[in-house]
């Protein structure tokens, strides 16, 4: 597709969003590679940079987390894919507010630039992690990068809140108001259900994050004391004026931060449901239950934020309450996983028209990571165990598997699946399969061993193991393995880049509806009949076509 910059067409904007995420994920991956290398060889100077200081390492951690969580896992699965196919999937011609969509994109792009600018200001990028707990983040003197870098971080995230707020308004107005005749709630593709939930969550939580950022900014510059406690003494200067409470930031931030996880992973859940149905040529068993469970996850996700604060001085009874709700989230997630597994098992996947093209492989990879990473959730939801595992590599492994890897694999699946809609061409299957197998091997090899480092008690954010922490000497071999696997994983993504750019230019021209799918984004340009059938009507033996696309109107059948 010709990529025009100042466009308001939703598909072009979807491409732009995806390119934005691609840039962010490339930078974030490079940062993480530098971190991994530094962890294994802390004293070898890096090419083009030299020796990495501790504050540089923390800056890398912060920027890696911020880039990946905000600009990749929030943008790509949600608004990028949504502006790519959401209007077609509900039978609309465009988003409800195309210009608003474009404005949101450009704000997000500006936010990315502002964030990257933090690398180049004096004293560099912030070092307080993507959660930026005050007072460390509230006092410029608290560390290098906490001055100008932190201001840029705050500005960038503020812009991002604005952008995703506009995007969520747009998606909600589209999903609720723009559905074609007959596109009832029981006929929506599962992806649309997921986007409905995530856009509600985005609407709710990013506003709270914006408020928290406003408070933090006024603490930094306008002499207020929302988060800085009395008599707080940093660098020999007493900066605490009033009785601010850092716990307030933790509450506000995690009220945003945990639903953010579901914003990142719910669209993937919806997408793999569609992909399984498509490539296994099956209906979705218990469609209503699956959709209801998506909603349940979103709603429960609003009341579990406290499980990030078990050891942060929160009252033990609050710990219990939040642990209960967190455990409760395991139930709808289990329903989803069992639904997928039995859906794959019932029909069997070998032969009989079911195939394993690259999107299906990545969807299966998503399922693998969602299971493996999600199962450690119930452990971390227990305050008694979390008070040992909190902020160790066990947590890192957990959220990298269930959020980062599952999220990325769903993004890959979506890109391979919808590539014909972006470029009119298909990506190379052989390269795609190679990319998948290398990626899943590399990803498991990278993030699974982190569980063991975490069980051994190794904390996050450690630039090197010095002092008493050298008691973790047993881990070093593990660390080496992780680093080499990470390099392997990153190298495998070069195949993906090559595949994208070659596929966009010289890929095989895609036939209409290349995957024999039923959902409306594959409808021919001329089909505007009202919808009168469900989204996943596969394996129905009719004349020479074993499925009913949603755009086939009833009148055409008889």
């Amino acid at each position: 597709m010709k990529l025009r910059l100042f466009t308001t067409r939703h598909r072009a904007l979807g491409n732009l969003y995806l390119l934005l995420s691609l840039a962010a994920v490339a930078i974030g991956t490079l940062l993480s590679l530098v971190m991994r290398i530094h962890r294994v060889w802390p004293d070898t100077p890096l090419p083009f940079y030299g020796l990495l200081n501790p504050e540089d390492y923390l800056a890398l951690v912060t920027m890696h987390g911020t880039l990946m969580i905000f600009f990749v896992l929030t943008i790509a699965p949600q608004i990028a894919f949504a502006s790519l196919v959401l209007p077609e999937q509900i039978g609309a011609r465009s988003m409800a507010f195309p210009r608003l969509n474009a404005i949101a994109f450009w704000i997000a792009a500006a936010a990315l630039l502002v964030l990257l600018a933090a690398f180049f200001v004096p004293k560099g990028a912030p070092i307080s992690g993507w959660t930026s707990y005050p007072p460390l983040s509230a006092i410029p003197a608290a560390g290098p990068g906490e001055a100008a870098g932190m201001d840029l971080w705050l500005a960038s995230i503020g812009l991002f809140c604005l952008s995703s707020w506009l995007a969520a308004v747009n998606m909600l107005a589209t999903i609720l108001g723009e559905r074609r005749a007959g596109m009832t709630w029981s006929r929506l593709p599962m992806t649309v259900w997921a986007w409905l939930v995530t856009s509600i969550l985005t609407l709710l939580v990013f506003a709270v994050l914006l408020a928290a950022i406003v408070l933090l900014f006024s603490d930094r510059h306008f002499g207020s004391s929302f988060f800085i406690p009395a008599g707080d003494l940093v660098n020999g200067r007493i900066v605490g004026r009033g009785d601010g409470s850092p716990l307030l930031w933790l509450h506000l931030f995690w009220f945003f931060g945990h639903p953010e996880v579901y914003i990142a992973v719910l669209p993937g859940m919806g997408l793999v449901t569609s992909l399984f149905a498509n490539f296994a040529r099956r209906r979705v068993p218990g469609y209503r239950l699956m959709a209801a469970m998506l909603v349940a996850i979103g709603l429960l996700g609003l009341v579990v934020w406290g499980h990030h604060m078990f050891v942060s001085g929160m009252n033990p009874y609050a710990g219990t309450a939040f642990a209960v709700t967190t455990m409760a989230i395991a139930v709808p997630s289990t329903v989803e996983v069992l639904g997928w597994l039995s859906m794959l098992w019932d029909g069997g996947l070998r032969g009989g028209g079911s195939r394993f093209p690259t999107p299906m492989l990545f969807a299966l990879g998503f399922l693998s990571f969602f299971i493996a990473g999600g199962l450690t959730g119930p452990i971390l939801a227990q305050p008694a165990l979390d008070s040992y595992l909190h902020n160790t590599f066990f947590v890192v492994a957990h959220f990298h598997m269930v959020m980062a890897m599952a999220g990325c694999f769903s993004i890959f699946a979506g890109i391979y699946y919808w590539f014909p809609l972006m470029t009119g061409r298909l990506m190379n299957e052989t390269l795609g399969k190679l990319h998948f197998w290398l990626s899943i091997i590399g990803a498991w090899g990278t993030f699974f061993p982190m569980h063991f480092s975490g069980l051994a008690g190794e904390p996050r954010h450690y630039e090197r193991l010095t002092g008493p922490a050298t008691s973790f000497s047993g881990i070093v071999a593990n660390e080496r393995g992780i680093t080499s696997a990470a390099l392997f994983l990153a190298a495998a993504q070069l195949i993906f880049l090559w595949n994208i750019f070659v596929g966009a230019r010289r890929g095989r021209i895609a036939p209409p509806n290349p995957w024999q799918a039923t959902t409306l984004e594959w409808a021919p340009e001329s089909a505007y009949a009202p919808i009168n059938r469900g989204p996943y009507e596969y394996e129905i033996a009719v004349n020479e076509m074993n499925f009913y696309p949603q755009w086939e109107s009833a009148s055409k059948q008889e």
């Binding site: 409470s245 642990a323 996947l349 040992y388 902020n391 063991f452 904390p459 193991l465 008493p468």
Partner: protein, 258 residues
């Protein structure tokens, strides 16, 4: 995965040796949880691969009953996890420390841990941030006019007697730190402006690393200390030695006397 499940089953599961009373229960809970999720993960993956290898069939072999049974079983597992874990949590946190628990104050500041013992009067002297001056030997800003503070002992190693319950009051001078003793299965953040309490009982003598588990600035990974659990007699001797040098400047380089 099956290998993990096995080697998890036979104890230590990579955790550092445990030196606290409650740690045993934590390790047991951790072990059973890990076994449970490893089995679930393994089973799910076997099911997944089997589905990929299974020849496709036309008729709907509805596995609804199977799904609901599995779901009920898994929910029972989650319920069991929640109940056992909450039981342990309640034991360790709901009730306060016993009255004869030893009071020790843990103070985190960039990038150093300080430990303060109340001394014979069992009362901590008041501190003022404007008096903090590590070079002058007063890293905590003890108010010299406060009689209760006269006998306080400030140390940079945490020396505890084995077998006696300790009630830590956690403070921070500047930013949020994380007081993490892997060997004691203990972690609690030190939040500036708050005084948080955790209590535990060190059981086996030895030295355990104390780490900072919450990123607190550029020296985060250097912010470590030593917890040495000694016999009560040695502890008394050590504390007595500290209290003798208490007058005037304070000794902040305490090492356990042997």
């Amino acid at each position: 995965m099956p290998l993990e499940a096995l080697c998890i089953a036979q104890s230590h599961l990579w955790l550092p040796p445990n030196g606290s009373l409650h740690g045993l229960a934590v390790d047991r809970l951790m072990r059973w949880n890990l076994i449970a999720i490893c089995v679930c993960c393994l089973a799910a993956h076997i099911w997944l691969i089997a589905a990929m290898l299974r020849r496709r069939r036309r008729e709907q072999t509805g596995s609804t009953a199977l799904r609901w049974t599995l779901l009920t079983a898994l929910c029972a597992m989650y319920l069991w996890m929640a109940v056992t874990a909450q039981h342990l949590w309640a034991q360790s946190r709901y009730a306060g420390p016993s009255l004869e628990a030893m009071q020790v104050e843990v103070v985190g500041e960039q990038f150093q841990w300080y430990f303060r013992y109340p001394g014979p009067d069992a009362a901590f002297g008041s501190t003022r941030p404007n008096l903090v001056d590590a070079t002058a030997g007063n890293p905590l800003g003890l108010d010299s006019r406060d009689a209760r503070g006269q006998d306080d002992v400030v140390s940079s190693v945490l020396v505890l007697p084995a077998g006696r319950q300790v009630d830590l009051r956690l403070r921070s001078i500047d930013v949020i730190h994380g007081f993490f003793v892997p060997g004691m299965r203990l972690k609690e953040n030190t939040v500036p402006g708050l005084v948080l309490h955790v209590h535990f009982t060190p059981a086996t003598p030895g030295t355990y690393p104390i780490l900072c588990s919450q990123v607190c600035g550029l020296g985060h990974e250097r912010m470590q200390a030593i917890l040495s659990v000694v016999s009560p007699a040695e502890f008394e001797a050590w504390l007595a030695a500290r209290e003798h040098v208490r007058t005037g400047q304070r000794d902040t380089t305490g090492a356990p006397v042997q």
